[in-house]
């Protein structure tokens, strides 16, 4: 059986209400539910608390694009949850210089600590100005109906 995890209707997601979710102010967000943390020329990227809740228990994260230069919104990997699979979209153009090796043995970190140990890739940005076009925490929270 396949469950379609709608992103609009349900205000409740895996034992958490949207209101109890965290959307740190220092991050930028995309409509595809990724977050971006900028450190100099680099961007750290993961998926939001809302996204991990919608996906449910994550089995593994598959990213085979290390070393590749990619454009904004390109698919850089997939995340496999028990019930569903989802593509990961790159929020900013650049080269993927590192994948979070900790996820290999501990993919649950995406569920338990999506903005910390659950980070996915580090990107050397080729066009840092793209960050300005992303949503801030308030805009993202508004988009998902929090």
């Amino acid at each position: 059986m396949e469950f379609r995890l709608g992103l609009k209707k349900e205000k409740l997601t895996f034992g958490k209400t949207i209101l109890s979710m965290q959307f740190p102010e220092n991050l930028k967000y995309t409509k595809e539910h990724e977050w971006v943390r900028v450190e100099g020329d680099f961007a750290f990227i993961g998926i939001t608390d809302f996204a991990q809740g919608e996906l449910g228990d994550i089995v593994f994260v598959e990213i085979n694009t290390v070393g590749q230069a990619m454009g904004q919104d390109e698919v850089f990997g997939t995340v496999e949850a028990v019930k569903t699979v989802s593509d990961l979209y790159l929020p900013v153009s650049g080269e993927i210089v590192e994948v979070n090796a900790g996820l290999e043995g501990n993919p649950e970190a995406v569920n338990t600590d999506p903005y910390g140990d659950g980070w996915m890739v580090k990107v050397k940005m080729s066009n840092p100005g793209e960050v300005d076009g992303l949503m801030d925490a308030a805009a993202y929270a508004a988009m998902i109906g929090a």
Binding site: F3, E10, F14, G15, V59, T78, V82, V85
Partner: protein, 360 residues
């Protein structure tokens, strides 16, 4: 969207709700992995009130049911339950179901939620004069309490019934949690043991609360359809709509063991021929040898990339960590040990056909 009598319980427990078979159903409460583990190791409770219940009564009930279902209804005795399926007259399956025998003139059929209307029409339109039917689907709620600690936890709720005496696939009717006439059935869809409890809608919340309270000391968790699916898949139990449907035959699906040729029934000649001469495809279980989760409708291929069939169900086995699936393959590749390849979004990843159940 229909709601079960336990809908407000699910919301109070912060369940994630999804549409399923026309009902707004809980897919998960605390997380599929935690719920799965609670059933395998302790116990969990599922609201599966969406399932359909038909009572079939009358002098002709036994022969009527025997003519429309694949298993041998005459082999049932009072208080026993039988897994069976309804062949559709064209080599496919209308539904799979449980047949409960109260007596040779009174039966209860339990059918899949998505097929209630189809099944009702199928039976009712073929019913002889000496059989009466009643569709009780909207009257009954169904709580599946599953897991090795179930009997121990629930025994205090039903002092008149010794749960340890209820062997697998038997049932009785008795008082539970002060509610009269609960149907207590030693069945389930998890392979973890336990009971399914049929109760009138007006008593459903009372029973749910009593089960949760009785299970608390044993670590009970409310469980959703998500882990119901991962639990049944580990056992290799078919899911109607995924692994079996109107176009799959019981013989192809590995349901020969519930297809009995000592009686007359729909598609008997066709299925007997399939059994004798063999079928061109079979439903098999397989374990991934490379990292990828097989999902419904993914293509199955041989080593040369030639199509063998398709995946019907797949998941991580939450008990073993293996990546497992069910699917139809050409009979040439259906033996345990056969190497097959799953087309996972364009990449052919190796898998090995394995005997069921996955979880021994």
């Amino acid at each position: 969207m229909k709601r079960t009598a336990l809908y407000s319980k699910h919301l109070a427990l912060n369940a994630k709700m999804v549409p399923f078979a026309g009902y707004d159903m809980p897919v998960s409460y605390s997380g599929i992995k935690a719920e799965h583990q609670s059933v395998r190791e302790r116990l969990g409770v599922f609201d599966v009130s969406h399932m359909g219940e038909f009572f079939v009564e009358g002098e002709g009930a036994e022969s009527f049911l025997n003519s429309l279902t694949s298993n041998d209804v005459a082999a049932l005795t009072d208080g026993k339950v039988q897994y069976s399926c309804i062949p559709n007259g064209q080599g496919g399956i209308v539904d799979d179901l449980l047949v409960y025998r109260y007596s040779s003139t009174r039966y209860l059929l339990v059918v899949n939620a998505s097929n209630i209307e189809k099944d009702w029409k199928w039976f009712f339109s073929r019913k002889p004069e000496n059989v009466s039917m009643y569709n009780a689907s909207d009257d009954y709620s169904l709580l599946a309490v599953q897991g090795p600690k179930t009997a121990e936890a629930l025994q205090a709720l039903c002092p008149e019934v010794n749960l340890a005496d209820l062997t697998y696939y038997t049932f009785t009717t008795g008082s539970m949690a002060g509610i009269a006439e609960v149907i207590i059935s030693a069945t389930g869809y998890t392979g973890a043991g336990g009971f399914e409890l049929y109760v009138k809608n007006e008593d459903a919340e009372k029973l749910w609360d009593a089960v949760m309270a009785a299970g608390e000391a044993h670590g009970i968790l409310p469980c959703g359809l998500g882990c119901r699916d991962t639990l049944r898949l580990e056992m290799g139990f078919c899911l109607y709509g995924n692994d079996i449907n109107d176009t799959t035959s019981p013989i192809e699906a590995g349901l020969g063991w519930i297809t009995k040729f000592n009686k007359s029934f729909t598609d008997k000649a066709l299925l007997e021929k399939q059994k004798a001469e063999g079928v061109s495809r079979k439903l098999v279980g397989f374990v991934m040898q490379e990292k990828g989760i097989p999902r419904q409708h993914y293509r199955i291929a041989d080593a040369n990339g030639e199509t063998l069939g398709e995946v019907t169900s797949g998941s991580e086995s939450l008990s073993t960590g293996q990546l497992i699936g069910l699917g139809y393959v050409a009979t040439s590749h259906s033996k345990a040990g056969s190497e097959i390849y799953i087309d996972i979004r364009g990449r052919l990843l190796k898998a090995v056909v394995t005997k069921l159940p996955f979880l021994k």
